[in-house]
């Protein structure tokens, strides 16, 4: 995951642009297909979570098609609509993830962390979003501001999964490592742009200019999508590989004696 995402940092700008233009849709479509396949092994809320994740990943492909950019410029209201639909998929995915998460088991420290993340998110938004108003047409100010706000909401909704895993790692480790990887990928994809603007000092309105240039932001996004895709692949294969491990241990191939 580190190599394909880090490689764009090393490539010359022109090649790096092409590389990211190919890699983004490729990894996203792979993730969408895998998520649908994972959905097929579950039912109820967990199936819904993976279906909406798949739709989110699929819809995320469209902003990466250069040939559609002319169309986007001509119909900005459709871009906002597409963004809203895409985010709606992620919010629905997070909603179902939250429904299957045993939030009652989160410790007090965990809740403090969630509260802190919420506060930090709001502070970042309050600091970075108002300057964007100069660039938005008046009709899009509210819908686009809400999308940034949704970033915080999604992170808050998904944090319990990571916290529970961290908590249980010290105990029986019953929480899924692969699911936590997928969720970490989603969280990273949501916060990548904020991390980038905070660390680089570039204002939020200028961040889209570095897409498809082989920037650190490209690398971060690519890494987060790869994290999701690899997590989904291993999640799908877990039954088979887990059983192989038992077979290996029984045939004396394990270190455990």
């Amino acid at each position: 995951m580190l190599i394909p995402s880090g490689i764009c940092l090393l490539l010359p700008d022109t090649i790096a642009g092409s590389y990211t233009r190919i890699m983004y849709p490729l990894v996203l479509i792979l993730g969408a297909v895998l998520s649908m396949r994972v959905a097929a092994i579950y039912k109820n809320w967990l199936r819904n979570a993976f279906i909406f994740l798949s739709l989110f990943l699929f819809l995320m492909i469209f902003p990466h098609f250069d040939f559609l950019w002319g169309f986007y410029s001509a119909h900005p209201q459709l871009v906002v609509l597409l963004q809203w639909i895409t985010y709606a998929m992620l919010v629905l995915c997070s909603f179902y993830v939250l429904k299957v998460t045993e939030v009652r088991e989160i410790t007090r420290e965990g809740w403090v962390l969630i509260g802190a993340a919420f506060l930090i998110g709001i502070i970042i938004l309050a600091y970075h979003v108002p300057p964007l108003y100069h660039y938005y047409p008046p009709a899009y100010k509210i819908p686009l501001t809400l999308i940034y706000f949704l970033d915080v909401v999604i992170v808050i909704m998904l944090m319990p999964v990571v916290l529970l895993y961290a908590q249980q790692m010290r105990l029986e480790g019953r929480e899924s490592i692969t699911f936590t990887t997928i969720i970490s990928g989603i969280i990273l994809s949501t916060v990548a742009v904020y991390l980038y603007v905070i660390v680089s000092g570039i204002p939020l309105y200028a961040a889209p200019n570095v897409f498809h240039t082989g920037s650190v932001l490209d690398s971060l996004y690519l890494f987060s999508y790869l994290l999701i895709a690899v997590g989904l692949y291993v999640h799908k294969k877990y039954d088979e590989w887990g059983f192989d491990m038992i077979e290996q241990a029984l045939s004396g191939g394990s270190a455990e004696t």
């Binding site: 097929a40 092994i41 579950y42 039912k43 109820n44 809320w45 967990l46 199936r47 299957v100 029986e172 480790g173 019953r174 929480e175 899924s176 490592i177 692969t178 699911f179 877990y238 039954d239 887990g242 059983f243 491990m245 038992i246 077979e247 290996q248 241990a249 029984l250 004396g252 394990s254 455990e256």
Partner: protein, 370 residues
């Protein structure tokens, strides 16, 4: 009972499970007894389940609970020692029924069916698995169940296996589940059938664990055991360690009370058995001592050496303690049983007067009451 003693018992139980795992991994496990080996007639453990159930209405709850806890603890250890990821059954309640059935069958067959086949407890199968966030239901069957095979009774009574299988599935899924028996070979079923699940239990579990008086034909059972007719494809024997688990799980909650109550049950049984053996071997009371030795020998229970006055019994290869621990708490029933047998055989009231271990031999003293 002190927590220390309970921990000691738990360690012994865990030790027995560790041997099961070693056998599963095809490691060399030395036999617990040099002459009889690791097997004994399944009648012996059957009797040790049935008589306490008959005598004590709380026994089913006690054996179910302790075997559940022991199996849950040890099945988890087995999983970890076999490198099974702890999150293998993550969110099982959201799995599709097909996946739940396939994966659970595969794991159960590879590990626990194999263990139970090796110990001759029966042939375990997962028959069905249905999942739901509110309700999980898993149907297991145990063919040729060692606990009840060949017995006719008026109520299912495989409490040890109900507890053990529920404990195993609970460990696998990482959930507190309930389980009870819905069909039993003893009540006319082809196989023993156990329903294990989340949100199950309730009244059915309550009814199962609190049966009315269980009736069973004891004489026919002894006759079948001594007749040696093969009843199961797995044979008429059971693993010695399975028998030891039955005893350990029976006594863990209160060894002293269990030893004393087993002793009393043993005395009554010994007297009935002496009369039966006289008829079965066509021996007069004077000749019964030989029949008693032969009885224990043929069941591979233990080797007995009785002196003429019958005030001292030397026992070797005693199934209850071989390879386990020289602990007299496990032997209350045997002391009582011998007292009952000797009372009839000597036509005088014999009373258990103590025991001592001399190397691998158990010396049991009796005194005649005037």
């Amino acid at each position: 009972m002190s927590a220390e003693r309970e921990v000691g018992m738990e360690k012994l139980i865990d030790g027995v499970w560790a041997v099961f795992l070693d056998k599963l991994k095809k490691k060399d496990v030395p036999p617990a007894r040099p002459a009889f080996g690791d097997e004994l007639n399944l009648f012996v453990p059957q009797l040790r389940m049935l008589l306490p159930i008959y005598a004590n209405p709380r026994f089913p709850v006690s054996i179910y609970t302790s075997s559940y806890l022991a199996a849950r603890r040890n099945a988890y250890t087995v999983m970890r020692k076999l490198d099974m990821p702890p999150d293998f059954f993550w969110k099982f309640e959201f799995w599709t029924d097909e996946r739940a059935f396939d994966v659970l069958s595969k794991v159960t067959n590879r590990i626990f069916r194999e263990i139970m086949r090796t110990t001759k407890e029966g042939l375990l199968s997962v028959e069905n698995a249905s999942t739901d966030p509110e309700k999980i239901e898993i149907l297991l069957t145990l063919d040729e169940c060692v606990e009840c095979f060949g017995i006719e009774a008026n109520h299912p009574f495989c409490y040890y296996h109900a507890g053990t299988l529920t404990g195993i599935i609970s460990a696998l899924l990482g959930k507190e589940l309930d389980g009870y028996e819905t069909a039993c070979c003893a009540t006319g079923g082809d196989k023993c059938e156990f329903v294990i699940g989340l949100g199950r239990g309730g009244d059915e579990l309550e009814r199962y664990l609190n049966p009315e008086k269980i009736e069973f034909p004891l004489q026919k059972m002894v006759e079948n055991a001594l007749g040696g007719k093969s009843l199961r494809s797995l044979g008429n024997d059971a693993d010695l360690r399975y028998y030891q688990l039955i005893i350990l799980n029976s006594i863990i909650t209160n060894p002293k009370v269990f030893r004393d109550s087993s002793y009393e049950v043993g005395v009554a049984y010994g007297k009935t058995l002496a009369q039966f053996l006289g008829r079965y071997y066509n021996k007069s009371e004077d000749e019964l001592l030989d029949a008693i030795s032969h009885y224990y020998q043929s069941l591979k229970h233990l080797q007995l050496d009785l002196n003429e006055s019958a005030d001292e019994v030397r026992a070797a290869e005693v199934a209850e303690i071989s390879g386990l621990a020289q602990n007299e708490d496990f032997l209350g029933f045997l002391f009582g049983e011998l007292e009952g047998l000797l009372t009839v055989a000597t036509k005088g009231k014999m009373t258990y007067a103590g025991n001592a271990f001399e190397g691998n031999e158990l010396v049991i003293k009796f005194k005649r009451q005037e």
